[in-house]
């Protein structure tokens, strides 16, 4: 049995909903460009980072939540006023962050397994 909860959401509203339903929990969120029908994302860095992030998920703390969030199509993401950029202050995809803390890994940082592991295992 997994010791963390994994949630899959698409878009900003679903993301906020998932977060609000899990108040008080340690929430890790991974933001990726949308995947097509073949399961491939328009964002090449996201394609590269995902196996690295998934490879470290065994280190997620007990009782934590992992939200996998597809942010939208490339055109939506490129718009500097989209909700993720404006409200969540995301600067790029992929982004892995710990909700409510300044802890985050952006783009190439997500390629590094040791950084991902560090985020999952340290206070």
């Amino acid at each position: 049995m997994a010791k963390y909860e994994e949630v899959s959401v698409r878009g900003y509203d679903e993301f906020c909903q998932a977060v609000s339903e899990r108040k008080g929990k340690d929430i890790f969120a991974y933001f990726s460009g949308d995947k097509d029908d073949q399961g491939k994302s328009w964002c090449p860095d996201c394609v590269k980072a995902e196996p690295v992030v998934r490879g470290e998920m065994a280190h997620l703390p007990e009782g934590s939540v992992f939200i996998y969030c597809q942010v939208g199509e490339r055109a939506y993401w490129k718009n500097p006023n989209n909700d993720f950029k404006k409200t969540l202050k995301l600067s790029g995809v992929p982004t892995l962050l710990r909700y409510g803390t300044p802890q985050k890994l952006v783009e190439e940082e997500c390629f590094k397994a040791d950084l991902v592991k560090m985020m999952f295992t340290e206070d």
């Binding site: 803390t101 300044p102 802890q103 985050k104 940082e109 950084l115 560090m118 340290e122």
Partner: protein
Amino acid sequence: HNFSFFLSFFLFLGGKYDYDLVVIGGGSGGLACSKEAAQFGQKVAVLDYVDPTVKGKIKIWGLGGTCVNVGCIPKKLIHQAALFGTALKDAKKYGWQISEPVCHDWATMMEGVQNHVRSLNWGHRVQLQDKKVKYLNFKGSLVDEHTVKGLTKAGKETILTAKNIVIVTGGRPKYPTNIPGAVEHGITSDDMFWLKKSPGKTLVVGASYVALECAGFLTGIGLDTTVMVRSIALRGFDQQMAGLVTDYMETYGTKFAWKCVPKRVDKLSSGALQVTWTDTQTGGEHQDTYDSVLWAVGRAPETKALGLDKLGVKLNQETGKIVLATDESTSVPNIYALGDIGEGRPELTPTAIKAGKLLARRLAGQSAELMNYDNVPTTVFTPLEYGCVGLSEEEAEKRHGKDNIEVYHAFYKPLEFTVAERDASQCYIKVVCKRFGDQTILGLHFTGPNAGEVMQGFAMGFQCGATYSHLSQTVGIHPTCAEEVVKVNITKHSGLDATVTGC
């Protein structure tokens, strides 16, 4: 003792230590040194640990040392918050229709400041990991010149061996030792930057830049603030400039209790703090109540728990700091130290960082360059900022003789102050030069807005051996305050009015 000898002997035979370099202290100097060393392929570990403040009132802070957590960074941000307060008042004269009263919310400001500090803690953590520096949240102490003991908060011990060890543990604010109630009821700068609630009416005891900067921003955000000074302000700095800084603060609402010494601090049933003090000039005793008492009476080097005496690491008897050679080595081979803990070193982040990097390069055999501690510029971020590089006028007189120096000076008015109808009496520039020959600049002093930004470029000129003639040959950028530095032409010797008039 036998064990460590055996261990060292064994290691000598084996020629293998756990690490090439163990750095004790994860502040400005420690982080710079460890990251630089790792870059050269050295195996490095950093031990960072924060003892809670005496009162244990605040939780300990993250990686980054004093500068990031309870020094430069939060200080400058809160100074900025205070400057906005003044700017809001000025703005009305520039046409902005701002409804009164304008209030300041401490909690909102602190949330922003602390979020930034935490992002820096995280950024350092990522950098260490990325550069393959081992980070350990242990309290480090020395067992011998190649062995460090690390202690976790829970008391668990780890032993690390290293070819070289660098001590970069910095300092902590001092509490006065002979004032009843000082420790129980007062706070220091370590606490100030983490307060959840506004400190309210505050008494700041001390006259160092820490005291004045804190008192300055507290006044700026609207709090009733008093500075209690035993003798002089900004000891070690040019005293004419120090006077301008405090005059400005007094004009803008900070109260000063000159030549006064606190005697005791008592907590009243209302929760307020009653401070009793002596006016050393009259001998009279006075009392007043405050919400907070901030001790800014000096900083003590963090050497007590390091085990330095056991190893014979030489300390300066008076200051307690570690005695260092020009290459940052201590009296014990393989043990180095830098930053605030070093005797005679400036207590500044940029010098600690630079010294740390140069030491790392030397230890990795990449360079022989020593840190140059001369010509270090600095800025005091009081409400009227004061930036300087080189000698104070007093020090220049002492070294060269009063008749061998020429002091060019000017009182100027920032253009922005005019419409805002602000008093600029303390905006001043002083260039201390050798009187004869090339008139080499010995010291440059500036009070005014953005003093740090103004001084940085001039510090480079100073480093290059700029003379008065270089200065006067430089064309000013108009309209700025900085241009008044290159235009300075009235000497103190002439006795002429040094007020700048018009363009």
